[in-house]
Symmetry: C2
Subunit: 243 residues, 2 copies
């Protein structure tokens, strides 16, 4: 069944009002009619089965039929810090990691990032992609898309995380920690996982990350593009915690 | 270091001749000069360090310096059978699963496939994508891209596989097998893993697959798009066998 994320202010007791994009989607894309049912998720992650009761020119009114007791969220809060790349790469990663249950996405300027910090991303489009992927994959929460930042600024706000990790391309490095042992402890914890640019982290960045107690992990013998690395990480976390 | 896949016929004793796209790449994209080094991989998966000795108008000649004893191949032969989808989706999946070590890719028409069997795909472009991803990810073997087929035709050629698996979206189905127990046995084995279309396999297809002893696996509580499902599967196989 089609799912829509709404703001809490769109709910008033048993009545839900939907306008804008979602109104257009219900009316013109899905071509729904009065008495059709949809799933609605509010900002608290609560899911409701709702029935369409009427359409106006700009909005659709629904009545809540019942609360659906369902939670599809990953039992771990994973933030992916991805080296700044082209918008299309961010979009691909966002689609996939949203489906895979990530909590937050932070684009991070690193020395070898192709794209620089002050480049403006189409934030509205990124958020639309997240909303669509969240609805389609039946999530209860929307992934949070942060504004781009620099690595140095990111490191000022890492106290909230239980685990600090970076994917390191030199898998023969003796400091590499086996992620299998880490992931099993992720349940109900918060982890920040950094994925570097195509050219890898610089030695200075590696020193800085090590100083901040980031743990280096390897992702196998082949060289993965940053999109693949991010999706790989979310896949194996889901695998350990959800399968 | 830049890696190039070549045909065995391009090697003659210690001399390698490179023309066409790779010649263009070496000369105009990488802007390499005489005495620069590259890695060259032949059809047997053997890797050589080679030095550029001369350029002509249409080709570059290299001398083999030494054999590099390196094998980055996944220790399991995985074939992904993906429900026919738009070319752009095939391209995304191919890039990712090539990096992740898949052996073969078969586009399969299923009842709910958006795209039909007789649609022509740009096969040359798909093979170019595989070659580029293989070179960049440092593989020893090129993934094999099969022509599109139907599910019925595919089922006539499944004797070669040790494992027959399909990703099933109804994760509450009592027949779902936990893939964790399966993957650990994949080493040195051949597996065919089918990923269905967005609408899922039909009941008839599920019956047919079950009749042919395919094992249904689940990929977690959220609904994954077919691209994500294919990448998820290759990620977790790499995770179990390579990390």
């Amino acid at each position: 069944m089609q799912r829509y994320f709404i703001k809490n202010e769109q709910m008033n007791k048993n009545t839900i009002t939907i306008n804008d994009q979602d109104f257009h989607h219900i009316k013109n894309v899905m071509r729904m009619k009065t008495s059709d049912n949809v799933e609605v998720v509010n900002e608290n992650g609560l899911v409701y089965l709702a029935e369409i009761v009427s359409f106006s020119k700009t909005e659709v009114i629904l009545n809540i039929i019942k609360n659906i007791n369902e939670n599809n969220e990953l039992k771990s809060e994973i933030t992916i810090g991805l080296a700044l790349a082209r918008q299309s790469k961010h979009e691909e990663v966002l689609k996939r990691i949203t489906e895979l249950g990530a909590t937050k996405f932070i684009p991070v300027e690193m020395t070898r990032s192709v794209i620089k910090f002050n480049k403006s991303f189409n934030q509205t489009r990124l958020e639309m992609i997240v909303k669509e992927a969240s609805e389609q994959s039946k999530r209860n929460k929307l992934l949070e898309v942060s504004e781009a930042t620099t690595l140095k600024n990111l490191l000022k706000n890492i106290n909230e995380y239980d685990y600090l990790i970076y994917a390191y391309e030199d898998v023969k490095d003796k400091n590499i920690v086996n992620i299998k042992q880490l992931i099993k402890d992720f349940k109900n914890k918060k982890a920040l996982i950094l994925v570097g640019p195509e050219g890898g982290f610089t030695n200075d960045e590696v020193s800085l990350l090590n100083k901040h107690k980031f743990i280096p992990i390897g992702l196998g013998p082949r060289i993965l593009r940053l999109e693949t690395a991010a999706i790989y990480i979310m896949s194996i976390i889901s695998y350990e915690l959800e399968l």
